[in-house]
Amino acid sequence: MEHKAPIYTWMGIDFDLSIVLMTTVSSIIVFLLAVLATRSLAMKPTGMQNFMEWAVDFVKGIINSTMDWKTGGRFLTLGLTLIMYIFVSNMLGLPFAIAYGHELWWKSPTADPSITLTLAVMVVALTHYYGVKMKGGKKYAADYFKPMWFLFPLKIIEEFANTLTLGLRLYGNIYAGEILLGLLVGLSHQGIFAGVLGIIPLVVWQGFSVFVGSIQAFIFTMLTMVYLSHKVSDDH
């Protein structure tokens, strides 16, 4: 498992090419999935349209459970894109990993902290943006001193903690899943017997990873909506 990341430096900026590749692949898959599913829209939904409408209703349910629809409706597209992107990213690393030489090319992009933390920081930045936009700077700032003024330092810490936990939770779950998958696959290098024996836990763990990947996508979207509602809702 001593894979290195294929780093490429362009104009003084480091790019991890495997991440670039996997991010692009996930984006394209999500885009194709969504666009193909909504290609032939009809009042009587069929096939993929049903699935996409189910996804929309699912995210709607998440939003409705954290804030009322009047303020939360605008986050529907964000939530949908997030949940689909993260889900697809989580799934990408499950069936196989491709390493070329010592460089790991194909893996879940969410098994990389830079990706998950980027998403987390983006989400938290969005919560601040919408907090200021929808409640005004004054009320936004006043929220830091509620319910008690001396909780202000905790509130500041909370923002960073939220960001870190949001990103690292996703990263940790997916990365751990891939490490274990790698180890189980690595068993086959030890001999035929170990390889055959390793297939059973490998299948089990893959199934569990599918579950974990779905749950993490859901949790990430859910927490995004929770943080957003903390910032944009009046009743807190």
């Binding site: 990341a5 780093i7 490429y8 362009w10 900026i13 480091d14 790019f15 991890d16 991440i19 670039v20 991010t23 692009t24 984006s27 999500v30 885009f31 969504a34 666009v35 599913a37 909504t38 829209l41 009809a42 009042m43 939904p45 349209q49 996409m52 409408e53 929309v56 529907l76 597209t77 964000l78 949908l80 894109t81 992107y85 992009p109 990389d112 902290p113 830079s114 990706i115 933390l117 980027t118 998403l119 983006m122």
Partner: protein, 168 residues
């Protein structure tokens, strides 16, 4: 060394690329997938709302119609009953009137007949009387002509005539 590890774990390019990719994905999906999808969901919702409203309206309308029909039926039945009753009453009255009229008519006819009979009888009696008178005169004159002379005959006739006239 520390910063090198950190830099290799978080290549700035990753972050920039990821951010850019996600934002582009967000914009593209909003434009090409979520927009139309939510549009059609909204449309369907409106459609269903309209359908329900229309059904509700139709139901109300038909209920009102039904109530109207029932009321009208009741009225019609009432009217029919009244018409029949009227006709019965009228028929009875008419029958009564007819009976009354025919009774009166019969009475009149009877009366007339009685009067006719009476006058005919009177007439017959009168005729008979005059006939009897003249016959008796004729008989008497025939009888008397044999036994009386002219004078006493005349006197006798005169007496008789007088008598006949008085008795009349």
């Amino acid at each position: 060394m520390q910063s090198l590890v950190l830099a290799s774990a978080f290549p700035i390019g990753n972050i920039l690329f990821q951010l850019l990719a996600f934002l582009i994905l967000l914009v593209l999906l909003r434009k090409f997938a979520w927009g139309p999808l939510m549009g059609i969901m909204k449309e369907r919702q409106n459609f269903i709302t309209n359908e329900i409203e229309a059904a509700e309206k139709n139901r109300k309308e038909s209920e009102a119609q039904l109530a109207l029909q029932v009321a009208e039926l009741k009225q019609a039945r009432e009217e029919a009953r009244m018409i029949i009753e009227n006709a019965k009453k009228q028929g009875e009255a008419q029958g009564e009137a007819i009976i009354q009229a025919s009774r009166k008519e019969a009475e009149r006819v009877k009366e007339e007949a009685l009067a006719d009979i009476a006058s005919e009888k009177d007439k017959a009696v009168a005729t008979l009387r005059s006939e009897v008178a003249s016959l008796s005169v004729m008989i008497a004159s025939k009888v008397i002509a044999k036994e009386l002379d002219e004078r006493s005959q005349e006197k006798l006739i005169h007496d008789y005539l007088q008598e006949a006239g008085e008795s009349k």
